[in-house]
């Protein structure tokens, strides 16, 4: 049983190590691309059926949710791509940890200087690199939305203002808080999913099949909730950046 915080390198391409979590993320992106292309090739009908119907219902739920937070349809259409992309990407990479063979099917190789089992399946969000990347992308897009919606001067005056000492102090705290949000986003998702993987591995090690069933349900719920929380928080921060003080 190999539990390591860092993802394991499977092979090297041009000096860069490709880890198992990176492969999972690439597979998810390729599947999403294939899904989109198949949907487009079938033709978009005015009365949706089948796969188009399912996609449209998911999009409808998200459009209503984003509407309820942002209150303005034009703003909703601007926020929709990043929020729903983050939701779907994080949801599917959280669901990878439920696939049988997680952490147990693999090859033996060198990891951190000693021989260990390198598993093929490891959830992409159990990799701090992945969660940090998504967190940085989300926070950068909030800054860009802030600058685009209310202008550079108003956006900066939320953080650096000289009106009165209290507002200046609070502004500095908010500025540090922006970077704290990056850390909080990444560690929330990483901690939940990595702890879930360790839990599933340890339970499978103790009592192989039967005791794992309630924990699988728990991990399903946790994966869904973490995806919802990540995207809802991204939405709330986007909305807060797009309004005046």
């Amino acid at each position: 049983m190999n539990i390591s915080l860092a993802p394991e390198v499977l092979f090297h391409i041009a000096g860069i190590g490709i880890t198992n979590t990176y492969l999972i993320a690439v597979v998810i992106v390729l599947l999403a691309l294939v899904f989109g292309l198949v949907l487009k090739a079938r033709g978009i009908q005015a009365v949706p059926t089948g796969m188009q119907n399912v996609t449209e219902s998911v999009f409808d739920v998200w459009l209503t949710t984003i509407d309820s937070v942002s209150g303005d349809r034009k703003l909703t259409l601007k926020f929709f791509p990043i929020v729903v992309t983050v939701f779907l990407f994080v949801l599917f990479s959280n669901l990878v940890e439920l696939i049988p063979g997680l952490g147990t099917i693999g090859v033996y190789g060198m990891h951190n200087g000693h021989v260990a089992l390198i598993p093929f399946l490891r959830s992409a969000s159990a990799d701090l690199n992945f969660t940090l990347a998504v967190a940085i992308i989300v926070m950068t897009s909030t800054w860009i939305v802030g600058i685009r919606e209310i202008g550079f001067k108003h956006h900066i005056s939320k953080f650096f203002t000289l009106k009165n000492p209290i507002a200046a102090f609070v502004g500095i705290l908010e500025f540090i808080g922006e970077f704290a949000k990056i850390v909080s986003f990444s560690f929330r998702l990483f901690g939940n999913i990595f702890a879930g993987e360790v839990l599933l591995l340890v339970i499978a090690f103790l009592v192989p099949v039967i005791a794992g069933i309630p924990f699988l349900f728990l991990e399903l719920f946790v994966g869904l909730v973490q995806a919802v929380v990540f995207s809802m928080l991204a939405l709330v921060f986007l909305k807060m950046a797009a309004v005046h003080h």
């Binding site: 390591s4 915080l5 929330r188 901690g191 973490q226 919802v228 929380v229 928080l233």
Partner: protein, 89 residues
């Protein structure tokens, strides 16, 4: 003397570094999950009261409650990550 006792205690601790790390990993998550557990209980309790007073607004209250619980739970997750780093790194 106090200084000799401190150095002796440090020497004993360093000799059993693995044991000390394991004990501290357990203590970290034990103490670190206490605050968030209280916070989540209070949050959920207040949300139940609010829903009881106004059942029509249940879905709005539920959405805000889940968001707030995720914030509180993140603190417990920070403690868990520190405990995991102590144990496995």
């Amino acid at each position: 003397m106090a200084a000799e006792q401190v150095t002796e205690a440090t020497a004993v601790a360093l000799a059993n570094l693995e044991a000390v790390k394991t004990i501290m990993a357990g203590l970290t998550i034990m103490i670190g999950a206490f605050g968030p557990a209280l916070a989540i209980g209070k949050l959920a309790g207040k949300a139940m009261e609010a829903i009881g007073r106004n059942p029509e607004a249940a879905s709005k209250i539920q959405t805000a409650m889940i968001l707030a619980i995720a914030f509180a739970e993140a603190i417990a997750i920070y403690a868990l990550v520190v405990a995991l780093i102590l144990k496995f790194v």
